[in-house]
Every structure is written in C-alpha cells, then in structure tokens.
Symmetry: C2
Subunit: 214 residues, 2 copies
DNA sequence: GTAATGTTTTACCAATCGGTCAAATTATCG
DNA sequence: CGATAATTTGACCGATTGGTAAAACATTAC
C-alpha cells in the first residue's frame, strides 16, 4: 500500500524527485502564462506528460504546486537585492544590481511572470511574505542607500522608490516581453534589446543619482 | 420576438446603454483582478447584479466583453503619449508625461491591471494592435525624442528604452500596488506615495537626461 | 388598448473543473 | 524468487464552466 503523502518527506525516491521536478517545471510554464485561477491541473499534467491522478499523487492540490513554486521563486528572486553591499562602492553596487536584475529578466522570464501574475491578482497566497521578509529586506537596503546619500556618495533620494523603479524597469523586459518585442519590431527585437536596455538604464541611473543636482 | 443581436447597433435603447455600461464596469473589476481565463461570466453577472443569461443577451460571449473593454482602455491609455508635443520644451514634456502616467496609475488602476494581465499572458487578443497602431505611435514619438537629443536639448539615449522605462515605473504603482503597499508599510502607504513617486521619478529623469553626461 | 418589440427568467446542456478511489502495475529489497 | 512498498491507471464524483432555448414579462409605438 502507498505511504500516506504526509509521511513522504522521510525519504524521497529517485522517481519522486524526478517527477516532482517535472511537475514543477511544467507548472511554471502554465502558471506563468495563465495565472493561478486561469490554469488547470489537466494543463499541467499534460505539459508534464503524465495523467492527472498521477500528478495528484505527488501534489495533493493545485494550491500545493503553486505554493511550492512561489516559495522557490521568491527566494532566488531576492538574491540580487540581498547581495547589495553596504561596504561597496555605491555606483558599482547599483550598476551591478541593475545588471543582475536584467539578466534574471532575460534568463528567467517565466519566474518573473509567475511572480507578476501573483502580485497583479492581489497576492492572495503571499501577502504575509511581502509584509514580512520582503519588507524587512527592503527596509534594510533602504537604510544602506540613505546612508550613502547622507555621506554624499549619491544624490539624496527616496530609497524605496529607487528600488521600486529598478524592479519595475528591469522586470518589465520579462513581464511585458510581448509588448517590447511588438514595439521594437522584428529587426530590433533580437537579444540585443537586453544590452540596449542595460546601457540605457545604467546611463539613466548613473546620471540621475549623481551628486550635486537640483 | 427579440431582434437578432447583430442588428442591434441600429438604434440603442436607454436600457441597453445602461446595462452594457454596468456590465463593462463589472467586467473591468473581474478581469483586472483575475485575468481573462481566470474570470467567469457568473462572476461578472453577479458583480453587475444580473443573471448570466441576461448578461449574455447584451454580450454574446465572454470574449466580446473583454474585447470591448480592451479596445476602450487601449485608446485612453495612450492618450498621454499622444499628447507628447514635439514643439514643446523637452524637459517639460517628459516631466508632464511622467506626471500624467502616474495620475492614471493612481486614478485608473483597474485599467492598468487589465492591460497588464493581457500582456503578461501573451497578449493573445491584442497582438495586432501592439504591432500596428501602438508601434507606429511609439516610433513617431521616438523620432521626436531623437530629434531633441540631436539638437542637444537632452542627453543622447535610446528613445525606445526611455519610453519603456517610463511605462514600467509609472504603471508599477498600479500593477504592483499590493507589493508597494506591503513594502512601504501601513504608515507610509497613504496616498502620499504617489507624490513621493512623482518627486523621485522627476528627479531621476531630469538629472538622468541632462545634457553633458558621460 | 393592442400589437410589436425589447428584456428577463427558468430550465437546461455538454464540457470541463478539482479531486477521489480502488484496482492494476511496477520498482525495490531480502 | 517472493513479498512489500511505490507508482500509475481508468473510472468516476459533484460542482462549475460557457452558453442556449423558449417562454414569461415589460416597454414602446401606433
């Protein structure tokens, strides 16, 4: 008889690891392009190449898949912000933060869209994470930025809105990819658009945050 | 007997106008917070305070409601960009564009989220509009910006990514509202956040686009 | 008023939704 | 090998999905 799923964490089979990975991979595709409510277990099962009951053997509910996916993404997603170093050179830190966020938008667009879908729809599953760990991390880094401004290393500015604007501009290239491609047109929409974006954003932020502005 | 719905455009009843308006208003609520696939006709009918068959008397399909909603929003959404004036003062034009986009994010967040949901999910219903009218409008305004740069009125920069970045930063306050509120916390999340955002963005862009940077 | 038109409701449909169950199958271990 | 545990399947469930048919009801035009 099958072990009840609650006790499964004790030792994980090779098959378990493989299948769970395949399910999460498929679910990332589906959830990121249809949102939670718009996705169905059948779609995920199809994409993972297995039957629905088989999928439900590994994850009890649709919510369980989504939850695990979101938890994973949330962690890796904040990695660049965590790397923000108070001891480093402000210009270099901000520049490298922008570059890393842009690389993530380029290399992990599905993860970005999964997250965007969740927030757009009111973040029903992760409000606590936003108000807790995320807020604390941003508060900490905002203080770093404020200290840089006080020390005269960058222009005085609202650190929260600075962070928001970097999030917005970089993730835009993942979340609004279709629009970006449509506007740039076929010729200009090659992967070069990420380099162009990086150049533009670095220019904008380096000049915009330079000391001694009105 | 009821007139076939295809012929209804001839003359519109008072009741027709009222009900259609109520349906679109309700649908804006529902679609903007659940996306197209995640929304149901029942939800919209409930929100509009009428029965499902009654709603379907005015709009034949779910798609028809969504389509009309998107068409409306798309038009008003581009109004600020259309107002971009080649003859005006570059700094003032950009500043006022940012301000207007920010006001729209504040006053019409549902419209912004409807649009974001659509793009996020691959823009299945409006790809043509993006590649056609939208691209043309952006192309035109990009040329204006390039001319300003050539005339030495603003720093040389990629006009497309400039526009993208303004879209991203302003719409962020509508689309990612939950996250913005969560991070700012209860005290700072009053409506003042839009003024803070405006101040930050104007500072960023005015300094960032100033002539004579590296 | 009455006839034609416009609107709303009730009852319903097939398809799909998330999820369960027991039986059949396969892998693992001694 | 045999036994035991892990995995997969097919058949199924009640609820919900988008949408229809027809009749009841309301409104308008004459």
């Amino acid at each position: 008889m099958a072990i009840p799923r609650a006790a499964k964490t004790q030792r994980r089979t090779r098959i378990q690891e493989e299948k769970e990975e395949r399910i999460l991979e498929a679910a990332l595709d589906v959830f990121s392009s249809s949102g939670f409510r718009g996705s169905t277990i059948d779609q995920i099962a199809d994409a993972a190449g297995m039957s629905k009951p088989n999928l439900l053997y590994y994850f009890r509910t649709k919510e369980a898949i989504h939850r695990q996916l979101i938890d994973r993404v949330l962690f890796t997603w904040l990695e660049p912000l965590r790397a923000f170093d108070a001891e480093g050179d402000p210009e270099a830190e901000i520049r490298s933060y922008i570059r890393r966020k842009l690389e993530m938008a380029r290399d992990f667009p599905r993860e970005s869209r999964l997250f965007a879908n969740e927030i757009l729809q009111g973040a029903p599953h992760i409000e606590d994470e936003l108000k807790g760990p995320l807020k604390e991390l941003v508060d900490e880094k905002a203080e770093v930025i404020r200290a840089w401004a006080r020390a005269g290393k960058i222009a005085a500015c609202d650190p929260y809105h600075l962070i928001f604007s970097i999030w917005a501009t970089t993730q835009h290239y993942a979340d609004f990819d279709v629009q970006v491609r449509a506007v740039l047109g076929q010729e200009a929409a090659g992967e070069g658009r990420f380099e162009d974006a990086a150049r533009f954003l670095e220019q904008l932020y380096m000049n915009g945050l330079r000391v001694g502005a009105d």
